[in-house]
């Protein structure tokens, strides 16, 4: 029981240290840029594929129900609402937890067990700032961008499906899609993905930075990074949906 509470305390101390260090000079811009590239650009193929498939499949699956109600014309609005409010932030976050979270956990974990983090520390460089602050900031910055990209690709996938089925033009599809979208929807989607990015970066970094026991510890850090990130993403989803419901 003691170790459980110590673990909670150490996790909160880690988060607190991130917020203390992130606004403090010197800033590791070159490392941040490198991490943004690794996290953002290198995730694009996966996000493109999943976003496109989500758009196509969701459109295909929704059409029969709307046809029964005689409301096929609502298809673009339905897809856009679903993508921007829920699917894009959530699916992007879950994919990122698997791809990016595990990568951060494994990378920092192996650096910890091979004493590379100690080596950074003893060379007078702030290892936390260099390794953790840059990675967490990169996930916080890049996951909202990936989320928007996911929503865009999803809508393109949906448009292609709709244009084949209903012969709709590009402009009329997107006019229809965006008409029910409010500023609050976009803001909530962005806020969610910022929170998910922060969570994925912090959990992956915390688990990797504190990894122990050799290669077994590295595997455990990577695995727990994914599991805990996903769990927290679902908890945050429920909370943010509730909060945005009250604001609506």
């Amino acid at each position: 029981m003691d170790s459980f509470f110590l673990g909670i305390y150490s996790a909160f101390a880690f988060v607190g240290r991130y917020f203390r260090e992130v606004f403090k000079a010197p800033f590791e811009f070159s490392e941040l840029r490198k991490q943004c590239y690794a996290i953002g650009v290198k995730s694009l193929p996966l996000i493109t594929l999943t976003g496109f498939v989500t758009g196509v499949v969701f459109t295909k699956q929704s059409r029969p129900s709307l046809q029964e109600l005689g409301a096929v014309s609502w298809l673009p609005s339905l897809i856009a609402i679903a993508l921007i409010r829920a699917l894009a932030p959530l699916i992007t976050a879950l994919i990122s937890a698997g791809k990016i979270g595990s990568n951060i956990g494994a990378q920092l974990g192996s650096m910890r067990v091979t004493e590379q983090i100690d080596a950074i520390d003893v060379s007078g460089v702030n290892a936390f700032k260099y390794l953790v602050v840059t990675r967490v900031s990169a996930t916080t910055l890049m996951i909202p961008i990936l989320m928007m990209y996911f929503a865009f690709v999803g809508l393109i996938g949906s448009f292609l499906n709709v244009s084949i089925g209903e012969n709709t033009s590009f402009i009329s599809y997107f006019q229809e899609a965006f008409s029910p979208i409010s500023f609050l929807d976009v803001l909530t989607g962005l806020f969610k993905s910022i929170m998910y990015g922060l969570t994925i970066g912090l959990v992956g970094s915390y688990k990797g930075y504190n990894a122990t026991r050799g290669t077994e510890g590295v595997g455990k850090a990577a695995n727990l990074s994914v599991v805990i990130s996903m769990f927290l993403i679902f908890v945050e989803e429920v909370i943010i949906v509730q909060l945005s419901g009250w604001l609506r």
Binding site: T114, E115, Q116, D118, A119, I120, D121, G124, V125, N126
Partner: protein, 257 residues
């Protein structure tokens, strides 16, 4: 004090440790440890695996905090200073890790340049290159500059690890098992390198080892750490010729193995 033909040992204390205790849970790793290292001096800390040798140098470098006792390094009490002061102190300390701890994702050149980012006097690319070439030349591995750590042998990795610490021209070197896992010829090369570093860069050093040849070849003084306590300190021959049963057992064990 003692004077060597190639290096001078002065009275100035570089490290001064008094009544140091460190435990991990119920495991008492260091018990009442006292150690003094003078400027220009190399001390080899000998002992079997798990006796707290690495813990001792990690405390000296501020990577671990002691339970009690005082640890002065270059006139500063390490456990009591702020993180910023500790980072400034670390610029004067070179730490050579047991497994070299080279950054996998960087080339040899990038590895060696890395500590320069903490140097307040920002260098140009050309200046950095010259500094890298100088330390690579000092360890005899100039040709590996653009290689990745995974392409190097164990001995080369150790040398590059030492070169990385030399780039900031440290006053104090901490070597953690510099010859472990190396063949006898490479061990001799590393021992020679440690002596060269002492003479060329005028460093003082703590050499953590269980290798008697390394201790004899590289140190001015030996401190024998058994079960978290220094049983004897002195010249290699003084410690080696001790009649104490535990010390004799340690040396006998090492010779048999």
């Amino acid at each position: 004090m003692e004077k060597n033909t190639k290096h001078i040992i002065t009275d100035e204390k570089i490290i001064d440790i008094n009544n140091l205790y460190k435990s991990f849970g119920n495991l008492h790793v260091l018990t009442d440890v006292n150690l003094t290292l003078h400027r220009g001096e190399n001390i080899a800390v000998l002992g079997r695996s798990g006796t707290g040798k690495s813990v001792l140098i990690k405390i000296i470098a501020g990577l671990l905090t002691p339970d009690s006792g005082s640890v002065f390094v270059l006139g500063v009490e390490v456990p009591k200073i702020s993180e910023i002061e500790l980072r400034a102190l670390r610029l004067k300390i070179g730490f050579s890790f047991q497994n070299s701890a080279l950054y996998d994702s960087m080339t040899v050149r990038e590895n060696i340049e890395f500590p320069l980012r903490s140097d307040k006097n920002q260098k140009t690319t050309k200046e950095k290159l010259m500094m890298v070439e100088e330390v690579l030349d000092a360890v005899g591995l100039l040709q590996t500059m653009n290689q990745m750590p995974s392409e190097l042998s164990g001995g080369q990795r150790k040398r590059i690890g030492i070169a990385r610490t030399l780039i900031l021209k440290p006053e104090l070197m901490l070597y953690d098992e510099p010859t472990s896992g190396l063949d006898p010829i490479t061990c001799i090369e590393i021992n020679n390198l440690i002596k060269e570093v002492q003479e060329r860069y005028k460093t003082s050093a703590i050499i953590i080892t269980h290798d008697l040849t390394c201790a004899k070849a590289t140190s001015d003084k030996v401190a024998l750490l058994i079960d978290g306590k220094f049983l004897k300190q002195g010249s290699f021959n003084e410690v080696f010729s001790s009649e104490e049963e535990t010390i004799k057992m340690f040396f006998d064990y090492n010779f048999i193995n």
